[in-house]
Every structure is written in C-alpha cells, then in structure tokens.
C-alpha cells in the first residue's frame, strides 16, 4: 500500500476514531466542539493536500468539501451544553465513514459504505418502533450492505445493478426513499441537517461512478420513476405535518429532477453534482433552521408555532432566504444543463415528460414551500411562548450553508 492509498484511509479513520471515542466517553461539550471544529479544519487541510499531491477528481473533492462544510456548520451551531455532546460523536463517525466512501475506491470504499449503512441500520433499530415500515427499512439497508460489500466480487452487470440500487437509496428515488426518510425523521436535533447532506453526497458520488454505464433504456426507466417519485413526494410534502418529514419529502421531490434530467443532459458531473450539492445545502439549511426551533420549543409540527419572523427575525430572514432559494432550485439544473453542454436529440414525448417533471417539482415546490413559510414565519405569533432568536453561531451556520448553495448553484 502506498501513500496515495493510505492517506485517504487515514483521513477517514481519524474522525471515525474520534467519534467512537466520544461515543463512549463523557467529555465537556466545549471541548468536543473545539476538537470537532479543529478536526474538520484538519480534514479540510488534508483534502487540499490531497488535491495538490494526489490526483483526485475535482468533483470528489467538491463532494467531500460539502460534507465537511455541513459538519462544520452543525458543530459550530451547537450551544455549549452538556447534552449536545451526544451530537458530536455521530457527526464524527458519519463524517469519517462518508469520507472513507468518497476518498477511497474499490473494496475500501465499499467497506466504508457498508459501515455507514450499518450505522444507519443500528440507528434505525434503536428507535422503539416495531412497525412494518421499520422492517422494510431494515431489510432495505441489509440488502444495501450486502450489495455494497458483495459488489466488488460480482460481475460487471450485477455490479452495475448493485451500484444503481445504492444510488437510488442514497439519492432517494421512490420507492427506495424509505431509509432516507426514516433516518431524517429519527435524527436527533441538528443531525438531520447533516444526514441530508451526507445522503445526497454519497448518492451523487455513486451516480457519478455509475452514470457512464447506464443504458438508454435504463435512463428512460429512471426518468419515468423520477416522474412518479416527484409527483408522490410533492404530494407528500403538501400534506406533511412534521417538519422533518416535510424536508425529507421535499428533498426526494427535488432529487427526482436529477434522475429525470439524466436522460437529457449528458455529462452528469458537470451539472448534476453542483445541483445536488446545492439541493443538499438548501434542504440541509431548512432542516437546520427547523432543528434550532425544535431545540428551543420541542416543536416539530408545521403550523403549531406560527409567526416566528417577528419575534425571531434572524430565523425569519434565514427561512425566507432558504425558501426563496428553494423556489428557484429547479431552474438551476435546466439552466446549467442548457448552458454547459449540448443536449442530445430529444423526442416530443420526452419533452412532455421532462416538462411535466419540471413543472411538478417547480410548482409543487412553490406551493408547499410557500405554505410552509406561511405556517412558520408569518401569521400571528403565540403570546404564551417566550421566543429566543437564533444565536449568532446558529445564524452563521445557516448562512454558511446558504452561501455554499449559492456558490455551488451559481458560481461553480
């Protein structure tokens, strides 16, 4: 094993080890926060080093940076209280595992992916629910682990299907979205924001590796599935009462755009990855903002705590900016796709299908995002609740995600 192999593994194992240590120790929250931020800084440095010395694809680095930024924002926004130390360990573990997936290849990457899926599975199983839904999720994850680990040893075509299964799991496409939705729903406090970014990043990485081997027929099937997924997820978002499920459904709806436009715009890494990262940051930002409110008031139901913009102006500003961004999200892939590369020949039916997909996502998104904004930021604030606005660190964290989305969507 040479340095180019060891270094990425080390980069992944370091936060993983830190996370495991924190999991079983009782340290001060302030210490964990400082160490966590330092670790992320070091990891970022490591990535820069990798870029300069090792030949690593820019898109991979971009994906890894996105995860680092998300982790940084979540840790940075934490208050220095004892119980928040329970957040740091999972962040570090997941950070390590996901970096391991991104920065490595072959069996090593798969092992890390298996580890990540195993961690997700354990987290799911920890929640007391014994419902049919949980069983399906558990089965799904088990299958994903098997395919992830076994894909190295099976033939190319089967490997492709295994990768596709993992891709539709991590870049959630209905009906493969259940693990994603379940994870987001059950995530503690601000972890949901981090999970959204991690899931999508891993999914984008999988799709990036897989894209070139997808046949036309498969792309067609995926685009049909994307249409169904977008419609289903948009309708689900409209009716969602819980903020975590709302964000999860909205994410699934927008991710469908990626799958749907694969058929139209070639060179997925050029438009798909920036769009995916933008989407991850925007949804992660909304989820982060919601989690701050949930931490304060234990509220997770949309509409139960309206009018937050007045007593919590920072929250109001952040939410309005995030929603405004989200409303224009569907335009980005179209715009960047059209600008960056020539399209392949599109038949009439495809235009209808793609237009319909776009409209479902865009109009649906407009509807439910604005509805959510109305239920959350606007209206009359309750007089029996003492409001505390976002702290500066929280506001900076959300703003950083927003800026990251802006960079990814408009500049990169």
């Amino acid at each position: 094993m040479n340095f180019s192999n060891i270094f990425p593994i080390t980069l992944a194992l370091a936060p993983l080890a830190l996370g495991v240590v924190w999991k079983f120790s009782n340290g001060l929250s302030t210490t964990h926060k400082s160490i966590g931020l330092t670790a992320i800084g070091a990891l970022a440095g490591g990535l820069i080093y990798m870029r300069s010395t090792l030949e690593i694809e820019p898109s991979i680095l971009f994906l890894a940076s996105a995860i680092l930024l998300s982790g940084f924002c979540v840790i940075f926004s934490q208050e220095d209280k004892q119980q928040t130390s329970a957040i740091y360990a999972p962040i570090m573990i997941v950070l390590g595992l996901s970096l391991g997936v991104l920065l490595n290849q072959g069996i090593v990457s798969r092992i890390f992916l298996g580890g990540l899926l195993g961690y997700i599975g354990i987290s799911q199983n920890r929640e007391q629910q014994n419902s049919f839904r949980t069983k399906i999720i558990f089965l799904h994850i088990s299958l994903a682990i098997i395919l992830s680990l076994g894909s190295v040893f099976i033939g190319d075509s089967l490997q492709m299907f295994a990768s596709l299964f993992l891709a539709v799991t991590f870049l959630p496409l209905a009906p493969f979205h259940l693990p994603f939705v379940g994870t987001i729903k059950d995530a503690k406090e601000t972890l949901s924001s981090f999970w959204i970014v991690v899931w999508l990043i891993i999914g984008l990485a999988e799709l990036r590796a897989l894209y070139s081997s997808l046949s036309t027929q498969m792309l067609f099937t995926l685009s049909l599935l994307a249409l169904v997924s977008a419609t289903y997820a948009s309708l689900a978002s409209l009716g969602q009462k819980f903020n975590s499920l709302f964000v999860a459904s909205a994410t699934v709806a927008h991710v469908a755009l990626v799958w749907g436009l694969l058929e139209v715009f070639p060179s997925f890494p050029k438009w798909g990855i920036p769009f995916g990262i933008t989407l991850a940051f925007v949804m992660g930002g909304v989820s982060l903002a919601f989690s701050f409110v949930r931490q304060r008031y234990g509220w997770r139901t949309l509409g139960k705590l309206p009018g937050l913009a007045l007593p919590m102006p920072r929250f109001g500003v952040a939410m309005v900016l995030l929603v405004s961004f989200a409303l224009f999200l569907p335009l980005f892939p179209i715009f960047s796709g059209l600008m960056v590369m020539p399209t392949i020949v599109i038949h009439d039916v495809e235009i209808v299908r793609i237009s319909f997909l776009f409209l479902v996502v865009w109009l649906g998104g407009g509807w439910y995002f604005l509805q959510m904004l109305h239920q959350t930021a606007f209206g009359e604030a309750r007089s029996d609740v003492p409001y505390f606005d976002l702290r500066l660190t929280e506001f900076v964290a959300v703003s950083a995600l927003l800026l990251g989305a802006a960079y990814s969507g408009m500049i990169y």
């Binding site: 208050e79 209280k81 004892q82 119980q83 007391q128 629910q129 009462k241 949930r294 931490q295 304060r296 008031y297 234990g298 509220w299 139901t301 139960k304 705590l305 309750r382 007089s383 029996d384 609740v385 003492p386």
Partner: protein, 1083 residues
Amino acid sequence: MSMLEDKKGITPSESQRIELRSLVNLSCEPISHFWPMKTFIHHNPLHGLEHLTFEDAIKEGQRFLRGRGYLSNSEYRKYFQQSRISKNSINEALKDVSQNASISIGEREFSHQEVLRALLIHGAGKVATDVCSAILQPSLNQPEIRDLFEKIHNLSKKNATENFLKGHASREKKDLATQYTLAEWCDQTFGTNVQDQINGEIIKWLGGFLDEGHAPWGMPERKKTFYKAWKELVLDDASGSILGIQDWKNKILNLPNRPEDAVLESLSLLGIPKNLWDSYFSLHLAQLSGWTGFIKWRSEQTDYAWQSAFPIDLIKYMAIRLFYERELVMLACQEKLAIPGSYTSISQYLNNHPTGYGLYKEFRSRVLPDEVVNYLNMSLFAQDPLNIEDLDQCDSRLISVWEQTREKQEAEGKTLMVMHLAQSLGVSIQDVVKSTPDTLSSLLDWVEQFPESQHGPIWLEALESSYIKGFAKKISPNLEKLRKSDEIEEQPPESRPLSQAIFCIDVRSECFRRQLEEIGGNETFGFAGFFGVPICYQGFSSEQQTDQCPVLLKPKHVVKEIPRASQGKAAEKFLEGQQIAKTGHTLLHDLKENVVTPYVMVEAIGWFFGFKLFGQTLHPKWFKKAMSWMKESLAIPIRTTLTVDKIQREEAFEMVATKHRAAIYRLFTEKYDQQGAAVPHDQVERLRKLALNQIPSDSKENEELFRLLKWNESDLGQFIVALRKDFNLHERDLDYQIQQITQTGFTVSEQVNYVETALRLLGFTKTFARLVLLCAHGSISDNNPYESALDCGACGGNHGISNARTLAVMANNPQVRQMLAERGITIPPDAHFLPGQHDTTTDEVELYDLEEVPATHRKDLLRLQHDLQEAGEKNSRERLSRFPDVPATKEIDEASPLTKIRSMDWSQVRPEWGLSGHTAFIMGRRSLSQGINFEGRTFLHSYDHSQDPDGKYLEIIMTAPMIVTNWINMEHYFSTVDPVVYGAGSKVYHNVVGNIGVMYGSQSDLCVGLPIQTVFNGDKPYHEPMRLFAVIEAPLERIATIVGRHVILQRLTGNRWINLVAIDPDTKKFFNFRLMEDWQPIN
C-alpha cells in the same frame, strides 16, 4: 311561559313573531349603533353594556365580540418602567385583590400583595404546555432545578384532577351555543371555515342592499325589504351550490315568506334550546358587529330616506344568517362526524364519545406526544367521517400514558413559573426548594388565582391613579393662586381684555387657547362646539340639512344660509354655475361608471387625470394652489347670512304671496306681453287667490279680467292650471312654504334664552371685550374617509361655523341685548360678537361675517387677526413636534406650511392627531388651568360655580358635554386596546363601501372605531387608554345631587365608565367619586 314554539310545521302566530322580534332586538344590546361615516360619531362600542360595571362589560365584550378590554401586560409594564405608573399606585390597586396572608421562603417573608406585585410587574412566566419541556430541558442540568421539578411534580400528582381528555367534551357541551355558535364549533373542531363562508355571503348581500348611492348599479328588488329581496335574487346566485348545499334552489323556495318564521324554522332545525336563544342571537349578531350596528341604527331611523325606501332590520338579517348556518353546519357535521348538524346531535355526540373526542381534539390542537403515538393508529384521525368508536376503544395504556405526560408537562410549566417568580422576588431556587410543600403549594395557588388575564384591571387602576396624582400636582400651583385670590374680599376692578374668544372644549383648542393667551391681552373660554344652539343647518345651494348638535339632541330649529340682500344677481349666477358644475360632475361620473365608455374616456381625457395624479402626489402644495386659483377664477363669490330671526306668520304669508304675484306677472308677460303687464294688482291678487282656492270663482268679478285679456271662462281655467302646474301655485305648496319659512329661525325670546344660557354657563356675564370671537372648529384633509371624526363632535361630526354664526347673530341683535340687560347681563354696545372657525389641521382661523364688524373695530380686528395668526404658527410648531414622521432634530422655522401640506396630502394617513391622547375634562374657571401645558390632552369647559348657585348650568354640562366626552374617551380607549375588534385596523387596507363605512380589504365587517393610525404611533399606543377624568370645580354636594338626579350619570360613575373628580372650591382639594356620598380624597 314563552310563547315561542319550535315545532316544525306549525305556522307561528303574530304574537310569537312579535316576541321573537323583541328577543332579537334585545339580544343586540351588546352591539352598539354604527352611524354612517358621512357624520362620524364617537361612541362607546360597549354602549349597550353601560348598565354593567366597566370590568363586567369588558368580559361580556370578550365573550361576544372577542375583543380585548385592556392593553397587553407588556405595554403596561413599559409604562411602569417609564415611571408613568408608580409602585404606590400598584399597591393601592392591589389592595382589593390581595389577602392578608404571607409565606416564608428562605429567610424572607413575602406577603400576598408582594407576590401579586411581582407577578404584575414581572409577569407570571407562564409558558404554553406544549413547549414547556423543551424550554425547561436545558435547566434540568442544575440539581436545584431538578429538585424543584420533582417537588412540584409530586405536588401535582397529589392534586391531580379529572381525566383531562374527557374535559374537552364536557367543556364544549357547556360552551356550545353560549360561548360560540355551532358554526364556530365546527371551525374549531374540524378546521373548516363555515363561519367565514356565512360571513362572506352575508357581507356580499349587505354590501349590495345597504348601499347608499356608491354603487353605479344598485341592487334590484330592494324595495321588497332585505329578506324578500335576498330570497328572490339568491335563486340566481350559484354560491349556494358552490358551497356544497344540496338542492339549493328548492330550499330557498321553501323558505317561509316571513323572516320571523324563517328564524323559527332554522332554530328548530339547529335544535337550539329556547333558553339559549338570546345568547345565541347575540353570538350571531356579534359576528359582524359593524354591519349589525349599522342595521340596528338604520332600523331605528324612521325618517331616514334610505331606510324608508329599502327597509331592513335585525330579524331579517338573522333569518338569512341562520339559514346559511343551518345548511353549512349540516354539511360539515355530516362530512366529518356523520351526524346531523344540530345542537342536540352534537351534544349527544360529545356525551357519548368523550374519550375519542378528547383524543381527536388533542390531535388537532396540540398533536399527540411521542409517547402515545405508539399506542394509536394515526390514520384514524384522518378519516372522514371520523371513526369515533375506534378512538373510544383505544388502548387503555394510552390514556394513562397521556395523563402522565400531561401531568409532567404541567409540572414543567409550573416549574418554569416558580423559577420566574423566584427571580422576580429575588430569592434563590435553593430557598424555594427548601421551603415546605405548603409554602410551595400556596405560592402556586396564588399564581393560579392571579393569572395574567386578570392583570388588566389592576394595571388600569394603577395607571389612572398615577395619572390623577400627577395631574393634581400639575394644577396645584394654579390652585394656590386661586386660593389666594378667592380669599381676597375686595376683588380688583376688572379691565377689558383686548379680545375674548370662546372655543370648543376640544383638546385641540386647549393648546391654541394657551398660545393665544400667551401673546397677551386675550382671554379665552371653553364651551361646547355647538355653542348651546342646536340647529338643523342648510347651506346655500345645498339640498341637504345637517343636524349641528350632539347626537343626544334633536334640533327643533332650522337655519338656512342665504345670500345677503345685495347679492341677488351674484347668487343667481352662482346657482347657474353650480348647476353646470353638477351636470359636469354627473356626466363624468356616468362616463366613468358605464360599462363601455371608460375605455374611450381613458384615451381621450386620461391625461387630464394624470395631471391631478402627479400634482397631488409629487407637489401637493403647488397643486392645491393651482386648483384654488382655478376655483377662485371660476367661482362667483357670494356673501351670505343666516336666517336666525324667525319670520312671523304674517310676514311669511306676505313673502309667499309676493313670490306668487311675481310668478303671475311673469306668466302674463310671457303670454300677453305688455297687455299682461298692464293687469292691475288687485286682479293679480284675485288670480292668486283663485289658484289657491281661497275665494270662489265669480263670473261677475272675473269680467274685468275677461275684458282686459279677452278671456273666457276656459282661458281663465287654463291659466290657473298653468299657475298650479308650472309655478306650484297651490295650497299644498303654500302650506309647505309657510312651514319651511316659519320653521326657520328663532324668536327673540328664544334667542335671548340661548345667549343667556351660553353666557351664564361660561360664567361670562361681565367685562366684555370689544371683540368676542366665537371660534368653532373643523378639519380639512384629503382622501380621508375619517375626515368627519376630526370635525366637531358636538356639531354632529360637522364643522361648527354655522353654530358660531348663529350665536353671533343672536348676540349682536340689539333686541336680544336689551332683554339680556333686563335679566342682568349687560353687553356693552361696542362689544361685537364675531364668528370664526379654527382649522385644527392647519391652525388657521378664518373669520366670517366681517361685513357686520363695525368700522370702529377695524384696528381691533386687525390685532385679533394678527394674534390668531401668531398663535396658529406657534401651535403648529408645538403640534408638529408630536408627529412621528416629522424629524425631531429638524429646526422648524415655519410650521404653518408643513401643517398645510399635511391637510392636502392625499397619502397622509395622519393629517393630525385629532383627539388622541386626551385624558381629562376640566369644568371650572380658566384660572384653574391657565398657563399649564396640558399637551393638548385636556377638554376645557369654562364654568364658574359661584355664578351657578343651584347647579342648573353644571347639570347641563354634566348631562351633555360630559357624556359626549365620555363617548369620545371610550371610543379612543377601546380602539387602542383592541385595534382589530373595537378599532378599524389600518387605514391602508380600507375600502369605502356603500357610502356608509369602510371595510378591510375587499370584504370584511364594517370597521367600527378609529383606525390604528389615529391612536398608535407605529406599534406603540399614542393614546394612553384610560377612563376619562371629569374634573369639576364645584361643591361636592352639588355634583352628587346632579348625579343622583340622572340615571345615566349614576351608571357612568357608579359603574366606573368615567372617573369623576371634584375640586372642592373651599379647600381646593381633589376628591374621587366612588359611590353616592362617598368621596375619596386624592393625595
């Protein structure tokens, strides 16, 4: 036994209908009248509840109208922080609610009052149950907080009450039809919007029916009354079908013809028990209290033209409302619960399924705690209709887990409250934890018994107490001076001031009077703006008459404005010009409102409106000047006078006869030229009497006419017909004209009475200056539906100049002066009464009837005009400092131009503050208030108790101006404490509807009360809501006697709608009137 039967199918009897109508009218008691906006009348929105105490009336208002009666506690706390409320005042206010008890926490002892004070000043710290856990969670790291929580939790377990899930059903059974209607119950239970649907339909129909000339196309069939018109027209309205009402048209057709019968039918279908009808009607009427108030007012106006033409009353309104409710409630209940939408079925449902219903309510309002979600199939809540049986039979563990969760949440809430209270009291949590369970329990009970919803009355009391003490302190220097001057036995001889001015009692006059007096040589008085002369006024060339008096009075005298004798020709030209202008205006209006012509009109003359639009917006002053110049060039100036003197009947007849003779001559010359003109006067007179049927037709006597004009009988007959038809020369017209003429004006003795009353009431019976200004007031603003609210309330919401001119004419009448002298009031011959009007927006004072001013008074007049101008400028400067949109740091060199711009700026939502900020009404000598800057917050009525030994004049003041100021005060009070329900919200969203009022947006209740811009400065109240302090300088017994004679005064004072304060003339001390014979000194 009630005569009203609710059996379907039996036609109600007439007595049942009458009883129902009475019940509906009685149920409208909580809703006050709403006058059309053309003459805005300040009134108490809870006027119908004045028989209750102030606090109780507010509670009733809250129940029916959902209106708040006090400012938010946070606002009062700001006042406390600003030292507008003192600690002593709070202690005094708490005396009535505090017990003689104390608790020990740590080493300190706290009385009940101390704890209540802490709760008042710092709040109870009560937090909503659903967020308690999250808010407390961070603090549970601290051991003392954990201990406190445990202690409180154990206490709560001991005091656990009934199953809270079932509490929903039992509460709602009790409140149904008493606290809310069935439609409201549907909305709060199912999340429907039945109430909005009902209101939407009602507003649509009312807006059309009650329109008074605003709509280009009036609603048809209005003559048939509201109910019948609706019944006919709604058949073509698809809204019923759109709302989902099945078999819409047949249901309408099957409705009874009588509205009373329709009400009874709806009540029967809704199943409302008879004993709840009155509260149910009140709840319904309160839904759209503005529209209801207007219907209530209009139905009582027997001589109101619109009501006579298109009748409406509360029963017709109720019939339609209840019809919509019964149909929509039926729909909602069938869909959601599969039960009929009636009171009985809903009550039965609640009775039979308390657990399931409680679960459903908890799910809808608070969402289920995570702990219980596992025990429940969540899809049950999403079904339509609700499968209540399944919910009833939910896992029993769920109920206990839920109870436990709820208990825990309540304990958390109480923990937060105790933590907050500990901080307020300055004790540590450890001390609280160490205290005995009884102490903790007492503390919690005290907090429960004094919730924040009950703090309002205490704060108000404290605010008022602080205010009156400060007020008394402010006046005390003047009181000292008065004491010294009253003690002097020999009063120094009085000298004539340079001028005297009688202003309205309005608060805006207070500052102007102060400025005028400070200039020197001017003496001022305060009197009701109508100057004690209630008249029905008709302006020149106007067809409308306005009642220039408080709404409490009905004027008996008509006064018309007519051109002066020398202005005959000018008047004719003026009228011609008016006619042309009116025709042009009508043409323009028709062109704009027509369906097709606006398209062409915009192209043709749209640019002209652009001139107006840009001019008004960008440079209002310049635009106004240009328009004034145009008006002056085109208008014919007319000098007018008023018909104050009553014309005797004989003279009236002669006036009409002269008019008739002139008409006959005109007809003669038209038909017969010179021959006609040569007809002798006696023949003309004969013809006149023939036309009026005053003499029989005699052939012999007619011969002269026949000879002169070569007539026969037939010609005579035709001529008389022409006289009757074309010149209205007939008996009926004669009677009408005589009545009109003799109704106008006052007899000399009436004039003497009015002048004497006015002067004696003011204590103004000697030392008259050469010029006495009777200064009325009015306001000018642009694009302001509330313009009338800024005018004189004593003049029925109009400008008061006509009253001032009337009194001036009377007071200048030599005959009147002669009779006054006989009664002991000698007005010097050189004293001239001059009418004027103070524009409260621009502070300009315009003088009228200057032709009457004697030439010898030229210099006095000049001096007065100069002083008025100077006072106006100073007053504008003072007033401008109170406008939030005028920068505080700006040096105002010339204030008048700035105030003028405010009066002509059509975007200005606040041309002036009006009566906002008022607090007190002083009835006493001017020396009591002279020189004190009340900041335009005080009504001032001149009154000298020494000249009123039997209290006759004080009684007039207390039963008229004081009542009016109380109404003004209550309107401002309630508009401030609840700008949405009792006020009119923001002007920005107002739309004028039907020429009667304004709505919010495109469709809403009629906005009652004052807009937010009148009483608020941004989000802070500008007007400090307090009950009016009526401060009277008079012997206590005299005041008490007057109160005892009038039920209305007993109600207002006894029920604390007004704070009656007396200044004892002997001791110069302040006393607060509590009950009859109970005067409490104010320290």
